[in-house]
Symmetry: C2
Subunit: 284 residues, 2 copies
């Protein structure tokens, strides 16, 4: 298991009075923008700072040890931006590194797994839930374990769909090819009779139309981005940390590779213009 080289510097007193501090969001790259988008929908006045680790994307094919190391570096960077709450907007990172991050940072940390799981468990009627995600997410069994922890009687069918991410990044989110790919992946899952399907990767909400068409309208899709943003809102309100005034929020974006590609693809994900973007160096 990888450990930070230096004794961890992150623990410090959590200042509950400062509502102006931004919400920190990190992802392995562009996908987390779907989560940020929903956070902005729920909490339009919050300041936000987003880090996309584009120099090391994708996390979904990497080992847990490597993902933990990358996640911790991202966390350290966002913590230096004086955030009031951290959202790990990457399913792979949430799957394998959330415990490690929580142990080493004193602000609240929200991952994208638990909110999706809670919604799915609440909504399934026949107790058969499907989960789709990257190779690493599926292999980690995080979704299965989290669902089973809530209700051991639920049957979970999980499946990795590695081509969905490159298809979305290519912008091929509808049409014959993506439909064929979805049919090939989801055929087996459909036969299992699931009534609820968790989209366990931040890219997948962009495929909702095709997925609904292929898996059938009677299967309920759970969008982790929406569920996560609701949890962020609830938690900030509970902590009295939500920013209530109507001032224009500050949106900062950081990437670890040059911003060009992020800007080109990212605005589709976010649904608005990206300004104030900067490249930062990570240890790699």
């Amino acid at each position: 298991m990888w450990k930070p080289n230096k004794p961890c510097q992150l623990n410090r007193e959590f200042d509950v009075d400062n509502r102006e501090k931004p919400i920190g969001v990190f992802d392995s790259g562009i996908g987390g923008l779907t989560v940020l988008k929903e956070i902005i929908n729920e909490l339009p006045y919050e300041n936000t700072v987003y880090l996309g680790d584009t120099a090391r994307v994708p996390y979904g094919i990497r080992s847990p040890e490597t993902v933990i190391r990358y996640s911790f570096e991202n966390t350290t960077f966002l913590y230096s931006k004086d955030i009031k709450l951290l959202v790990v907007a990457c399913n792979t990172a949430s799957s394998v590194s959330l415990d490690f991050i929580r142990k080493n940072i004193s602000v609240p940390v929200i991952g994208v797994i638990e909110p999706g799981v809670k919604a799915a468990v609440r909504k399934t009627k026949n107790n058969k839930i499907g989960v789709i995600g990257t190779e690493a997410t599926v292999k980690s069994n995080s979704y299965t374990n989290a669902i089973k922890n809530m209700d051991a009687s639920i049957e979970v069918y999980s499946l990795s769909c590695p081509l969905f991410v490159p298809l979305v990044e290519e912008g091929w989110t509808e049409g014959e090819i993506v439909t064929s790919v979805a049919k090939k992946y989801l055929g087996g899952l459909k036969d299992m009779g699931i009534d609820t399907l968790i989209l366990g990767c931040t890219h997948y909400p962009l495929l909702k139309t095709v997925l609904t068409e292929v898996i059938g309208g009677d299967v309920r899709l759970i969008d982790s981005a929406i569920e996560t943003s609701r949890k962020v809102k609830m938690l900030l309100e509970n902590l009295g940390l939500n920013r209530e005034n109507n001032f224009v929020p500050r949106r900062e974006f950081f990437v670890t590779d040059s911003p060009e590609r992020f800007l080109k693809v990212g605005e589709n994900f976010l649904g608005e213009k990206i300004e104030h973007i900067e490249k930062i160096a990570v240890s790699s």
Copy 2:
């Protein structure tokens, strides 16, 4: 432009007498194994050492600066293995970092661009050459520039095909989906009337059947892996560095992430069993 932190330690006297030294090959990940496979075909008795930078794959979507940094780190590692020749078996790295590497290392360095270009220029009859590769390779204009340098009258049509790599890694190298993707990408190229097509990415040789079917049997496909291995053989012979005896060669493999996935997918690429594999740390 990124520069190595330390003064470069790589230049040293090139020992022309040692035929036992291995050929070093690096790639961003698994793809370079198609190049290693052809080198082994051409030179079965050579010792080889392969580095797949699986913790930072894919290079094709990264900025030139980042690719140069990664390439130099890979070079430094292989140089520490006392190689007699370096093959940069990644098109993206060959496109953007070959000059930088050559300036900083005293053993001969062979990339995958030039051998493919020479073969294509030799073989085209109508002076219309197509090139397919990753986004970074195409954007770098390396193929176009290299072809134009050899013969300015040749028309070059280059095109990035980002979905080919994930398709190959998923093992979907034939069938309806990959054929549809190939048709979508290559339609325009076909209309240009090219008679020669360079496969400018190490993954693409695994798609030869589909590509021939889609682009038509009258278009000659240039496999850079084969052309590169011929150049390696020729250069070693010219330098009197080829290993002639019939001892069993030593094959070493190194990766920067855990070897599991590399082993699973890699053996398809290499066409033989991978033994002696080890994970090493890069700076990231």
